[in-house]
Amino acid sequence: MSETTAHNDWPQPYRLLDAAPYWAALDEQRLTFQRCADCAEAVWPAHSYCPYCASSALNWAESAGRGTVYSFSTVMRGPTPVWASITPYTVGFVQMAEGYMLFAQIEGGPESIAIDQDVTVRFVERGAQTIPVFTAANPG
């Protein structure tokens, strides 16, 4: 585990060792996840043993970065000054095409986001870390 100190007030990830490849790939603007070589399930968040079949044969794979909105909420009252400075912003779960659920920010006005809407990844820098956010796949 390494520090979780804020960079320019953006909270930085509390890094656990299982996810080191995830954060490294994001620095290259690649979105990755794990897949179990034994049961073939997509595994997320990062694990050292498959939570579905207990296999240790977890491989990192690259996501195409596409999915649909499973649920979402637009935050009107930011928890800290840095978040208050960008309200309103939307957070939610994206059902990824590869078969896992990823929590992220979903960009766009609150009225423009809907459950089952197609979204696609883009990358933003927050402090020292590049992180994935999602935006409507076919805006307008």
Partner: protein, 401 residues
Amino acid sequence: MTAQPVAAIVGMGDAYATRADRKDPLQLAVEATVAALADAGITKNQVDALFTGRSPWADKRSQWNNIFASHMQMPLTFTSELTLHGAGLTATLAQASQMIAAGKAEYVLCLQSDATELFVDAVAMGAEADADPQFEVIYGPTIPSLYAQAARRYFHEFGITETDLAEVAVANQRWGAHHPHAAKAKHGEIDIATVLDSPYVATPLRRWMCSTWGGGTGGALVVTAPDNVRPHQKPVYLHGYGSATTHEYLSDRMNMRGCKFADFGTLPNLTHTATIEAARQAYAMAELGPSDIDMVQVSVNFAHMGPIVMEDLGFAKKGRGIDVYREGRTGIDGDLPTDTNGGWLSFGQPGISCNMDTLIETVRQLRGQPLGLAPTRKPETALVQGAGGMLAAGSVLVLAA
């Protein structure tokens, strides 16, 4: 019929604080404990074990149970914090009854206090405590916005609307308006328009659909064996308990592919909670069902959790929990008076491990000594549901006068 009780609550104490009358969690806990011991007619030296829920947010020291016991100069054979998130405090009664049944304790003290609003900027720290610090906190979620993920799905899957949810806030405020310690009592009774005119905190949840931090409370219960009750004590009997937990962070829940709890529904879902399993255990142990319950105290921190929990407790079919509120069943004349101190939506949520406020309310109502309104028909049986985490854990107790 009812199974034999497994434990008896023979002492109850409560304590309250406000911004104008500040007390910290240690002071609240001591005040409540002194009152509970006096009520039970025992001394602290007769207490064998102590259980608390999570450390209060207003005093986040670890092993808070130990800190309290040493402050009291009260040596014990066993003590622990129970942290099924916020559901742990409710589960303290289960642990107490198990120690008593095993012959390892004669009296157990179950205790909690908190005063978040008086000491902590809860908005700033809220989500960091309950969201995944690696994969969620970096997106700035708030606790309302995490619970709102469930509200949005509940709307989507069952055709529920904001107007429906307003019914829950109105129903709870009807009780809270008349409770001397309810944080929102000062607003009086409200209508649906009041709720729908309030601003969004995190869509689709408006301010009146969210619990407020309400002052501070302390509560203490003295638990013993049913056959240890003495004539002067006013016992409330514990007939059944259950608890269950499914995850810590929502990201873990959303990636579950199966759940061993039979009624949890197909996954992924955000509309069923571990309370389903906790209730199943508690009903089975008490040999009672939903139709035997006269009064309910539930953990409704956001309005959609009212109907969802009512469904999980078996009072309505999935998706129809709102009818329990809409038909007036939760009110003073209803067959299922609910959250009779206003619940977290109106009484307020004094802290993170705060279900002692609902336990105290339950004991007071079963004794016929409410601080606010009493249901028209005095309840003989009551169900208490505690919940914790981001839809993570549930504990259920079945109590009877």
